[in-house]
Symmetry: C2
Subunit: 279 residues, 2 copies
């Protein structure tokens, strides 16, 4: 597997950063991640928009213009030649002279084999737990995941698959996924505030609006308890139905028709993007 670092493509085994990098010194950096199928990165422009926005929010300059960056991405994809994969771009605060002041950012692009959610998770739905927390700079995709990683063992011990953040009972997001509920009248609702605006979240909102009433607004823990369906969304997971939150069973405890219908629509949208945009 090859990676892009220090302005060249090298075997990933040789992709190193000096310890003065501000990601190592101060956890300072942003990133993004998108899916590839047979050489085609899905919804690439959406992910690049977000990457440049995260960089700008955190006062980091991406060392390449968009077209140049796209060329690097396509070169890496061709060189690695993996059918189903993901690409991660990390932009750090650079090699800091004093371990605090940002310097010229380092850009690292790596490609990874893709782990999709198991059939079983989609068919039966999953359990999640909740935790009181709000991310700093929630609208930027920073590399700060201390709380999410610190909670890994708690999630496992609870036999859950993920942890949903809330503040005073108002829900926001998972460490790496967005959250939706479906009300009894089939309205599809997702938290509007303190969330990373996921590309899958955006696609689901658009697809859902073609069939259902849609709301970006406030979702409380009480709203979840009285919801008909719930699901999480992410680039790699697409849609995974949530059937249990802590000890509360959602709806009838099984994945619902709206979740499955939107998953079908999302897969169709991916296929359409592939047909229209694959080089």
């Amino acid at each position: 597997m090859f990676a892009y670092i220090h302005r060249e493509i090298v075997p990933v085994e040789k992709a190193f950063l000096h310890v003065s990098d501000l990601s190592i010194q101060r956890g300072y950096g942003i990133f993004d991640f998108f899916k590839i199928q047979d050489g085609h990165p899905y919804f690439l422009d959406d992910y690049l928009d977000r990457f440049y926005n995260s960089a700008s929010s955190m006062q980091l300059e991406v060392p390449h213009q968009r077209d140049e960056l796209k060329n690097i991405i396509y070169s890496l994809i061709r060189k690695n030649n993996i059918a189903a994969s993901g690409i991660k771009m990390i932009l750090t605060g650079g090699y800091s002279a004093d371990g605090y002041q940002p310097a010229e950012p380092n850009l690292i692009i790596t490609q990874h084999n893709l782990t999709l959610p198991g059939e079983d998770q989609i068919k039966k739905g999953v359990k999640i737990i909740t935790h009181e927390f709000v991310r700093d700079f929630a609208s930027a995709k920073t590399i700060n995941y201390s709380t999410g990683i610190w909670l890994i063992n708690k999630v496992k011990e609870s036999q859950a698959v993920d942890v949903l953040y809330h503040k005073h009972g108002i829900v926001s997001e998972f460490p790496r996924c967005n959250f939706f509920i479906v009300r009894n009248d089939n309205t599809v609702v997702t938290p509007a505030h303190h969330v990373l605006r996921g590309i899958t979240r955006k696609n689901i909102l658009r697809l859902a609006s073609l069939k259902y009433k849609v709301e970006e607004g406030v979702v409380t823990l009480d709203d979840i308890a009285s919801a008909k369906e719930a699901f999480l969304t992410s680039t790699t997971k697409r849609i995974v139905p949530v059937v249990k939150v802590n000890d509360t069973v959602i709806g009838d405890g099984k994945p619902g028709a709206v979740s499955f219908s939107l998953l079908d629509d999302l897969i169709a949208l991916e296929n359409e993007d592939y047909k229209l945009n694959a080089r």
Copy 2:
């Protein structure tokens, strides 16, 4: 200059981490920093206590027992042989297989030339600004400084030297320093909650208690406005008087007698530690 990494001492120019390290992937790690004079690390046991505690809080295992770690530190100090310096120990989440799960932690120890605060800052005092924020895992010295670094430019533009965090007007700490006020009756007060328990903070509390009334409690922005003196403390800065917070002048706008007296006491305590414990 030499550094310790991957269990050996190497020139710092050769100290690299692979990009799979969880500090680069997810900003996951802890660190600590202490001062050296002529081969003697001041208050080393206090700093090691905190380092092991931070690691344990963040579910990371330090790959060395305390005596072993001390031997490594002293070897590095002898090898570098710098009169006045600082040592930084960083412990990261390790080379993660999937960019999320922690692995065997990486320990990096680097030594740095020391920059003490200028005479002028101590004589005239400094201006600080405030910002609404509370650190996650405030009692652990994690590498997450996104907010502090993001605010660097705002601090500079305000012609201030640092930024004091508060939440709803209740003050906690600076990104890298603790904060004290001196009330009109000479009581020395420092925030008790949501702060990293600085070693200099601890020393100042002890020294102050020999002469003055001392409180670890709640400090509000209003308390600062009516304080007689204010100062910040840190390992490298010792005590720096604060004479202006945003546009509010503290006391008579000059550093006060209590601040200077405690600075003298701290320097005396450092000298005593040197005499008693230097190898």
